[in-house]
């Protein structure tokens, strides 16, 4: 298996008045191609910060991130942006969509930004394909405010996947959704992982969501406290994970 994402000794501090907040204090990890990894932990533990640093949205105070063998720290802002556009996808907790654009246009955004014409050819096929993957066929021309919260989040997933990124980062994509709707999103993510070998890094504080992953890293106080190997399974039964976490006193 090839390692697609690696991090070494990441720290990230935020200045806060006269003092500083240490959001990350020395995180090292690696993610293999096709893996579905979950980052779990209590609020304020540094999960979002870690995800943003890994995805190149933010820069670490110290340490190194390598994505597909490229050191993110050595890239200019434009290069990092291009890498982000072509090789990664992001899904956030909410407000992932541009309200003025319809479903297809939102999904096509990365192509449009790159200056392509997403209305024809291969790009159009890809867009149709991901919309089908997230089960939104028939709603292509709805505007975000005409969609349910779950549907909006699925559009966000589709957009994150449309470029066939090496890595998909999702920060609490189900945080704003009820259980069933949340399950739809997680199912879509899992499908892309199983059917297409998509690598996924998911941030969640919910064990039921983390149970979809192959591996769960428990973040606490800016560090990785524990790594739980669940392995690739057909179910996403959460009980074994919850039992392990209880065992570890988390």
């Amino acid at each position: 298996m090839t390692v697609i994402l690696e991090a070494f000794h990441l720290t990230r501090t935020y200045p806060l008045g006269a003092t500083t907040v240490e959001a990350l204090r020395g995180v090292s990890l690696s993610v293999e191609a096709g893996e579905f990894v979950a980052l779990m932990g209590p609020s304020g533990s540094g999960k979002s910060t870690l995800l943003q640093v890994l995805g190149g949205l933010d820069r670490p105070t110290s340490g190194e991130v390598t994505l597909e063998g490229k050191d993110l720290g050595s890239l200019s802002d434009d290069e990092a942006t291009r890498l982000r556009r072509d090789r990664t996808g992001f899904v956030f907790q909410s407000f992932n969509l541009i309200p003025l654009l319809d479903v297809v246009e939102n999904v096509a955004l990365p192509f449009t930004i790159a200056g392509g014409d997403p209305t024809r050819g291969e790009l159009a096929d890809r867009i149709r394909d991901v919309i089908e993957l997230v089960d939104l066929t028939g709603k292509e021309h709805h505007k975000p405010d005409q969609l349910s919260a779950g549907e909006q989040q699925r559009v966000a997933v589709a957009r994150a996947l449309v470029t066939r990124p090496a890595l998909l980062f999702a920060d609490e994509p189900t945080g704003n959704l009820d259980y069933t709707t949340g399950t739809e999103i997680l199912d879509a993510l899992k499908r892309s992982c199983v059917e297409r070998g998509q690598t996924i890094v998911l941030v969640t504080h919910d064990a039921k969501a983390a149970a979809y992953a192959d591996r769960v890293m428990v973040v606490g106080d800016g560090q990785i406290r524990e790594t739980i190997e669940l392995g690739r399974r057909d179910t996403h039964e959460a009980t074994p994970l919850i039992a392990r976490l209880a065992q570890l006193g988390l």
Binding site: F95, I113, G175
Partner: protein
């Protein structure tokens, strides 16, 4: 901490934007203040001019024409019951010399004022700054104006030489009078001598005017009636100081009305800015305000908190504005110098103009803040917890507010504006601007699409984003676009009016002068002097010399301009455009006598038609009948308006002593040197050689001055609009922080984000420019029509100004985008996508 302190801190947290808004208020107040101060300065100049002109006189009898008031008339005035003092004076223009050199340009003439050294000081104060006053009725002494002393390097004791009808005489300067001296319209070059000596020099026993002081306790009206009953032998004008003041004020009314209009527009643009800024502050501070409310602040406290912010901005802006206004007013006065027939002596800045300006500035800011402040008060504590807020109600409120502000500014304008004919014009212009601005939300998407076309070609995606950002909040875009549109519309409109005025004046000259150049004289050149024959002898290639004289006649009790012309010359030169009457027979008729050709303006005013007869009083006492034989589009300009044309035969019976000017036409194929020869010969006859181009140049210059000033004021409105664009774009960026974050996360580069904001500005600028040009052309056309002009669509469009305005609009908007675009492109993605 008190709410005011909190308000202050909240403004400080947004220093740049607070400064921009403060500056917007300041510019609005500055233009208002400068307008008020200039108008007050004009008023005080009018008053001091009136004081100088009539002094303590209760009545003035002025002569018509060159003959002046005869000694009999003066005696009749003196003997009228109730007349206590009379101060007769004679006024003539001459060249000072020892000698006028052939071939050299003539020096500017001076105006000689002959006064009665005893009677004059009883009615007029002569402000000496050096030397002493005249004492003896025949002494060979002169007082000169300070300006003449400075321009010609004359001091007390210096000799001055004057060439009258007889021998050259030399007087000694014994005193210098302050400033431009006691006469209006003499360009400040004045020589005051005893009346009797002046009469001797000019070989004339008449006077130009008689100022009258009535016996204490006598009713001026009664004396005036008695004078009318007695003065029957020759035409005259009887006026009171109030009449003279009214005439002078009239000549400045248009200027004052336009200044007031532009000031109102600048203030209006400033109010747009304040309103937008405070709306933004509300949006940004929703959470703060929600928390304040959650912590127990009442609605009123929150409203007060917002109003305090406005107050700080208003006070800061207004005070700064008055400072800027002082500079602006001084600049305006120095730049324009003369308005109508009033000379602005000094940048008269009365301190009391500051009070209304500051009040309007603070009040306007507060009024603009009311609606956003009330909106802030309505924020619920729970909204502090919401991540996004929808402001559809705010949008409707904003447009209601727009109408409200227009109405308020109109009312304030009506109260503050100078009375007079200009007000109607200003109101109509204002109404058109209001309707135009109110239409913007309806046509916004279409205009944005149109204005987006040039950007779409190269930056498709950015253009799409930019346009959707604009359309998302139509009322905010309307306010922003509205301010820019009316600013640019004013520039285009004034440009159109200016071009029309210039073209009309230029056409005027070319239309009525039967020749290619003019030799003008400061004194009437009588036919028996033989000047024409001498000129012909000296320059044989002259084809035609056509004498022209302008004078006044009393027509239906009003002073009316008249000109003596040679009809045959006009016919031969193809001049004058007739709107009624037959050209050939009309021009022949005026040469024959008993006929007149009147300008269309006069015909309209008096309801004249071809075939009617006008009766005009003459010096000899027998009135002269003149049949209207033609009506022309434009006629020769007189001192107050276009002149009615008569032949020389009638002019002579109306008391015209000679020609004021000669229109010259050279024979075709005349050598180039002929013109130089003529110039040299003309100088020896004290004739000023003036080409038609020079006249047009002088007219252009005068118009350029006034309209340049108006344009500068309108440009301030555009500047304020630019500040509004900065605000709106910033607000669009702030409201779209999350959207921009997502775009950046999805791979949009900084440069692309930057471009999308700049393109948004470009679309705003171009849309504002397009709307501004259309609205401006309409307004300009209206202003011309309301002023009694006619528009010619083919030549009336000021293309240069239109082009400039479009470029100005786009450039100003793009520049305004610098800060918000930077802000947007530098936005840290993590902050944008952070869920709070």
């Amino acid at each position: 901490m008190s709410l005011t302190r909190l308000a202050w801190r909240s403004l400080r947290a947004r220093t740049l934007r607070s400064l921009l808004s403060g500056l917007g208020v300041a510019l609005g107040v500055a233009v208002l203040f400068a307008g008020l101060a200039t108008n007050a300065g004009i008023d005080s100049s009018v008053n001091s001019t009136v004081r100088d002109l009539v002094g303590r006189a209760d009545l003035r009898v002025a002569a018509f024409g060159e003959h002046g008031l005869t000694p009999e008339t003066v005696r009749a005035i003196k003997e009228t019951p109730g007349v206590e003092v009379i101060a007769p004076a004679l006024q003539r223009r001459i060249y000072l010399g020892p000698d006028i050199d052939a071939g050299q340009a003539l020096p500017p003439p001076v105006t000689v004022l002959g006064i009665d050294p005893v009677a004059e000081p009883q009615l007029h104060d002569l402000h000496l700054i050096a030397g002493s006053l005249l004492r003896e009725p025949t002494e060979p002494s002169a007082l000169i104006s300070e300006q003449l002393a400075n321009e010609d390097g004359l001091t007390v004791g210096a000799p001055i030489t004057m060439q009258g009808t007889g021998d050259r005489v030399t007087y000694r300067v014994i005193g210098i009078l302050a400033g431009e001296g006691p006469l209006n319209g003499a360009f400040g070059r004045i020589v005051v001598v005893p009346l009797q000596t002046a009469q001797a020099v000019f070989g004339d026993d008449a006077v130009t005017r008689v100022d009258i002081g009535v016996t204490a306790g006598t009713d001026v009206g009664t004396v005036s009636d008695a004078l009318v009953a007695r003065l029957v032998t020759q035409p005259y004008v009887l006026s009171t100081p109030q009449d003279i003041a009214a005439t002078l004020r009239n000549s400045t009314a248009d200027f004052q009305a336009t200044t007031a209009l532009i000031a109102a527009i600048a203030l209006f643009a400033g109010a747009f800015l304040i309103f937008n800024t405070l709306s933004m502050t509300v949006v940004e501070q929703v959470r703060d305000v929600g928390l304040l409310r959650a912590a127990g602040a009442t609605r009123r406290q929150v409203t007060r908190f917002m109003l305090s912010q406005a107050l700080v901005l208003g006070v800061f802006g207004s005070l700064l504005g008055v400072g800027l206004g002082v500079l602006l007013a001084a600049g305006m006065v120095a730049y324009v110098r003369t308005i109508g027939s009033v000379t602005l002596q000094r940048p008269a800045i009365p301190p009391d103009a500051a009070v209304p300006a500051v009040l309007v500035g603070i009040g306007g800011t507060r009024a603009a803040a009311l609606e956003p402040a009330r909106r802030a008060g309505r924020i619920q504590p729970v909204e502090a917890l919401k991540a996004r807020l929808d402001l559809p109600s705010a949008r409707r409120a904003r447009l209601r507010w727009l109408v409200g502000v227009f109405v308020i500014v109109t009312i304030v304008g009506l109260i503050a504006a100078p009375r007079g004919a200009g007000v109607v014009q200003a109101l109509v212009v204002y109404a058109v601007l209001l309707v135009g601005t109110l239409c913007i939300p309806l046509i916004l998407p279409a205009v944005a699409r149109l204005a987006g076309i040039p950007f779409r070609v190269i930056l498709r995606f950015e253009e799409r984003l930019a346009r959707s950002a604009m359309v998302r909040d139509p009322s905010r875009s309307t306010l922003t676009l509205g301010a820019l549109t009316i600013g640019l519309a004013m520039i285009v409109a004034l440009g159109g009016v200016g071009q029309h005025a210039r073209a009309a004046a230029g056409a005027w000259i070319a239309d009525v002068v039967p020749g290619e150049l003019i030799l003008s004289s400061i004194r009437p050149v009588a036919p028996d002097e033989g000047v024409e024959a001498d000129l012909r002898a000296a320059v044989p290639s002259i084809a035609r010399i056509s004498p022209i004289a302008t004078f006044d006649v009393a027509l239906e009790g009003a002073r009316t301009d008249a000109a003596a012309v040679v009809g045959a010359d006009l016919a031969a030169d193809g001049r004058l455009r007739f709107t009624a009457g037959d050209r050939a027979s009309a021009l022949a008729a005026i040469d024959a006598g008993g006929a007149t050709i009147v300008p269309a303006g006069l015909a309209d005013r008096l309801g004249l038609a071809v075939g009617q007869t006008l009766t005009v009083p003459t010096d000899s006492g027998t009135p002269l009948d003149l049949r209207v034989v033609g009506i022309v589009e434009r006629s020769i300009p007189g001192s107050g308006g276009e002149a009615m044309l008569v032949g020389w035969k009638d002019a002579t019976s109306l008391g015209v002593a000679g020609a004021d000017a000669f229109a010259i036409r050279f024979a075709s194929g005349a050598p180039a040197s002929a013109r130089d020869e003529l110039r040299a010969v003309a100088t020896t006859y004290a004739l000023d050689y003036v080409t038609l181009d020079r006249i047009k140049g002088a007219i252009d210059d005068a118009f350029g001055r006034i309209f340049g000033l108006f344009d500068a004021l309108a440009a301030v409105a555009v500047l304020i609009a630019a500040l509004g664009i900065v605000n709106t774009l910033t607000m669009n960026v702030i409201e779209r922080v999350r959207e921009i974050g997502i775009l950046r996360a999805a791979g949009m580069t900084r440069r692309q984000v930057w471009r999308s904001v700049v393109v948004e500005a470009g679309i705003l600028g171009l849309a504002g420019a397009l709307l501004g040009v259309i609205l401006g052309l309409i307004v300009g056309g209206l202003m011309v029509v309301l002023a009694g002009g006619r528009i010619d669509v083919a030549t009336g469009i000021p293309w240069q100004i239109v082009g400039l305005s479009i470029m100005l609009g786009i450039a100003v908007a793009m520049l305004a985008a610098a800060y918000p675009a930077r802000l947007a492109s530098r936005l840290p993605i993590v902050r944008a996508v952070r869920f709070e």
